[in-house]
Amino acid sequence: MFGEGTAARGAAASIAGRFLAGFAKFVTAPRIEWRGVAPTARQRIYFANHSSNGDAVLIWASLPGAARRRARPVAAGDYWLTSKLRTFIGRDVFRAILIERRPDERTEDPLELIGEALTKGDSLILFPEGRRNDTEERLLPFKSGIYHLGQAHPGVELVPVWVANLNHVMPRGEVVPIPLICTVVFGAPIEAREGEEKDAFLERAREALLALAPEREGA
């Protein structure tokens, strides 16, 4: 009855999605600030800092309905495909684009998979640091994927999103979240310039994201 692709599974995914978004909002009462861009359903790549497992869920929950239905997180397949429940949440609820992180296990090129989704018109939620940041640094150096996507899809807005305080709600290794107020700031989009050097672009994108960070933690 809940086989892949069935209507029942789709309906269950839609209900689970509302529940998860509601739960994320109940725990974090997020202050959502559209600082540099309007909350429309335009095709975008939302790129964000990654300090907690819940980042993608909270950004996804912060988007208004139409934009949320369009947005697909890019996430690690080796995490989301390890159990039936995770597969259901990852694949069906978030419609995540699941990437294999270990190069030798790969059967498909991740950038190609993501590019396909963009060509179909999906928006992305992307963490260009490539892994969760557990260091004292506010933001790790960016991986180059976002540069190649920006160059290949110049019509898609690249919107920086800063998520503050979520790492305190659910630090690494914890399973029960503590309710604390989080802030999600959507900044002004940057564009990929034709012929721009990779490093210059990555630095520019990183600066645009850092500019949204609050001066002090927890605020």
């Binding site: 009462a29 309710p179 927890g218």
Partner: protein, 312 residues
């Protein structure tokens, strides 16, 4: 417990009062801020809109009786604690202590209130929370800022849960000749203290010149303080009909709780100032967070509770 008839009278008065406030707010908006850009007027009207929601919500809880008020206070404590702990010193070692604070201590405190178990709810957080939360934190083995972390967590629980829970605890007070109507004490405390906040704001905006504590809060003035406290004590006296007090006693109690409310606002402002924020949260339009609205009630509730318990 059946609903005391005084509650309906009070709610009618409050709706009338809000209707007048809405008319004045709209009138001011037409005259001073026709294009909707005057910050003070817009904030005033946002506050009045939120007041409608709050009065309706609190009114429904009062109509639902003891359980309604206990549940509403528990929800407010949850929201307040979430705001407070967002700003406190903490690290990974506090995770389980904080989980326990939210999901064990808070519910137990309100179950004790609901059970009217005075002997335990009056010491549960000051003794058991005080001893066991640091134990949980210590077992996690992080010593840096330990005293800061556990003190701030304890303070958060005292303010957001312990003190606030004295509001529904009023219902369990036994007063001769006042049986079945104790819920009106809850209404009395909320109305007088919140009215004092509103009137301090109004007097301050109209006449405010001399600041009381410019380094803590720029909006608190002597004119607002004195005008607000005296006029809300008069209102308290005029509400004596719904209490076991005489008009003079109601005025005296009002004076005490509005002073406590004012001081609560001052203390909480000092914390906000130190942590570099203007408001505790953002969920109540025009007011800020739950704690911005509750700070005065939090400081007034335990004192009011003890005064009434001792003298009546």
């Amino acid at each position: 417990m059946t609903t005391p008839p005084e509650l309906f009278t009070l709610l009618l008065w409050l709706f009338g009062f809000l209707a007048v406030a809405t008319l004045i707010g709209e009138g001011l908006a037409r005259r001073i801020s026709p294009d909707g850009t005057h910050p003070t007027i817009e904030n005033l009207n946002a506050r009045i809109r939120s007041w409608w929601n709050m009065v309706i919500l609190i009114g429904l809880a009062l109509l639902a009786g003891r359980t309604g008020i206990v549940v509403l206070a528990a929800i407010c404590s949850f929201a307040a604690l979430r705001e407070f702990l967002t700003l406190t010193t903490k690290n990974r070692g506090d995770h389980w202590a904080l989980v326990v604070a939210f999901f064990v201590v808070l519910p137990i405190q309100y179950v004790l209130i609901w059970l009217e178990w005075y002997g335990l709810y009056s010491i549960f957080i000051p003794v058991y929370g005080f001893l066991f939360l640091p134990i949980i934190a210590a077992f996690r083995g992080h010593s840096e800022n330990f005293l800061h972390r556990i003190s701030e967590t304890q303070w958060a629980l005292m303010v957001c849960v312990f003190c606030l829970s004295h509001l529904p605890a009023l219902i369990s007070l036994e007063i001769e000749g006042y049986e079945g109507r104790q819920i009106m004490l809850v209404a009395f405390l909320i109305v007088v203290v919140q009215m004092s906040d509103v009137l301090q704001y109004v007097w301050g905006k109209l006449l405010g010149r001399h600041k009381i504590a410019p380094s803590l809060s720029p909006s608190k003035t002597w004119e607002g303080f004195i005008g607000g406290i005296l006029s809300s004590s008069l209102i308290g006296a005029s509400l004596a009909w719904m209490t076991p007090f005489s008009a003079l006693e109601a005025a005296a109690l009002s004076l005490v709780i509005t002073m406590m409310g004012f001081c609560g606002g001052l203390v909480m402002s000092a914390i906000k100032r130190d942590r570099g924020v203007k408001d505790w949260g953002h969920l109540i339009e025009g007011h800020g967070g739950f704690l911005d609205r509750l700070d005065s009630v939090i400081f007034a509730a335990p004192i009011f509770y003890h005064l009434v318990r001792f003298f009546y």
